[in-house]
Amino acid sequence: MSAAGKSTNDQIVLDNVSKFYGEVLGVNRIDLTIPPGITGLVGPNGSGKTTLMNLLVGLLRPSAGTVSVRGLSPDRPETMFREIGFATQVDAFPTGVTGFEFIELLLRVYGFAASDAKARAGRALERVGLTEAGGRKVAGYSKGMRQRVKLAQAMAHDPSVLILDEPLNGLDPMARAEVIALFRELSIAGKHVLVSSHILHEVDLISDQVVLLNGGYVVAEGEIGGVRDEMEEEHPVQVMIRCDRPSLLASRLFEHDHVVEARITNDRRGLLVSTKDADGFHLLLNRIVLEHDLAVESIVPADADVHAVYQYLIEQGGR
């Protein structure tokens, strides 16, 4: 996802973007090229996630660098926002509107004719499961319903880029699963879905690629597996193997330099192995299993998810 040498017409590109609030750093020297698909933006509070999203849509102006979304500049909102839908974290709505009016009135501002705006508002509410509640005032909605009506508003004009700041906050598990499924469908259709979240396992679940931010800097980016592989030297990959003879397996594995740690679990049926060479380790494991006829129940990566990457890069790095 680096900025160099890629066509920008179907990409989101941030070229050396910095944003300072006076002397306070928002984000610094961000170079990103984000392809279509679901991209998770992860980082602790104050890491610059919202700043980055606001820079993409022109609600904030970069102190340095340039931003383009599918070749469009935030300096021309009249063309850019035909392609972008943005649901902010801000939980505020125009006073006194119903869910339907909220979407329909804004669609009219977008330039849609009355009949088209009504039809689109109806469809958007249907897609987020709010058809019945559409006639009620937004002020009376639950947090989850307000999240969904914001999502519906962002999608109502069928943009090719959806930017969603913490869209899963406040959703119940069922709605959460349905919204994630909706993101997947949009991604398959070739759209950009840029999602920020602090719920790491959800980002892991939904994202094709991730951008990890900390202190205003991008600390890692790319497909989560690739990001994890690049950290092998500093943070050996951990694999959990459940088998009938973990002690034997441990002793054989320790004969090899790339295996730096092996711990048998309390139930004596599992072995947690740390290795600096994941590919070499799997070949070795196959050989040992065959040689000793081990009964293997499961082999699971123990730290190849966003959570582990986040912990290594941000939490441990910050110490």
């Binding site: 606001n54 009249e78 035909r82 972008i84 009219r108 977008y110 249907e126």
Partner: protein
């Protein structure tokens, strides 16, 4: 709680233009967007929670005049005023001192000063800024909405105050129906509308440059209040100077006033319109580069 969420992705891309739909960037699309903004804003302007104060402000002059009628015996009014006196009192005390300098001025602070600022405080401005619309058009739409609201409320207030002043006095009905009365009334209404144009543009612009328009508004209130003491050149930098020349009955500024040539009516009207246009253009330019940051990430 959740109902089913449809995962069907619409086949039509965002940029598809339906037959008969205005093309992106066309004047027809801009007109449609402008109308949509005005429609959305008018509801807030007339019926929002904050509109109550404006209605009360606009009703104040006719309410005061109605109370005066209710609590003053009819004969006393006839004895107190003749037509000439009533015209002078309406022009100086009721219209210029009360309606124009207090009611319209404060009303314009409330309406135009909050067009952008209130949306920032309510944290709803981003909905407009995230729409495919030129921000200049948004500013124009909001300004026009402010003009409609202010023009309606204070135009009505002017007309009601005029009628309540002249209808009860001897010769008042003849003045209104057969004399120049109605013409005067429409001239006062037009002056009120131009006051809204001028003050509206000022407070719209101040809303972009100041977090709270109260202090600059107070300074302008003072400036407008002492305009008659200003030398001729500085007089030209006050809205009231131009509005005075549009009033059908001249108002004396008192013995301390520094005399200067009043602008002709066409100069006053065109001058105010150009002045307002410039300020709206400055506001639009400011909006183009405006950032929104409601809270820390």
């Amino acid at each position: 709680m959740s109902a089913a969420i449809s995962n069907e992705v619409p086949a039509s891309p965002a940029t598809t233009i339906a037959i008969g739909e205005p093309a992106p960037g066309s004047a027809a699309l801009r007109r449609r967007q402008l109308a949509a903004i005005i429609r959305m804003e008018l509801k807030k302007g007339f019926f929002g929670k904050r509109a109550i104060g404006l209605w009360l402000l606009a009703l104040a002059p006719p309410a005061v005049l109605s109370l005066r009628l209710l609590f003053t015996p009819g004969d006393s009014i006839r004895e107190l005023f003749d037509l000439a006196q009533a015209q002078a009192i309406f022009a100086g005390a009721i219209y210029q001192a009360f309606l124009l300098r207090v009611v319209v001025f404060l009303g314009c602070v409330g309406i135009f000063g909050n067009l952008i600022r209130r949306e920032v405080l309510d944290r709803t401005l981003h909905y407009y800024f995230l729409a495919p619309i030129r921000r200049e058009l948004l500013v124009l739409g909001k300004y026009l909405t402010g003009l409609i609201v202010a023009g309606f409320l204070f135009g009505l207030s002017t007309a009601a105050s005029f009628l309540l002043t002249f209808a009860p006095i001897p010769g008042g009905s003849r003045f209104l129906l057969q004399g120049p009365g109605l013409g005067h009334m429409f001239a006062y209404i037009a002056t009120t509308l131009l006051a809204c144009v001028g003050y509206g543009a000022i407070f719209l612009t101040l809303g972009f440059f100041f977090r709270s328009p109260a202090i600059p508004a107070l300074l302008i209130f003072g400036w407008e209040g002492i305009h008659f003491l200003l030398p001729p050149l500085l007089k030209k930098a006050s809205v009231i100077h131009y509005l005075q020349s549009l009033m059908p009955v001249p108002v004396s500024d008192g013995p301390l006033a520094l005399l200067s040539d009043a602008p002709s009516k066409p100069v006053a009207v065109i001058g105010l319109l150009i002045f307002a246009g410039l300020l709206v253009a400055i506001s639009a330019r400011r909006a183009r580069r405006m950032e929104i940051k409601y809270e820390e990430d």
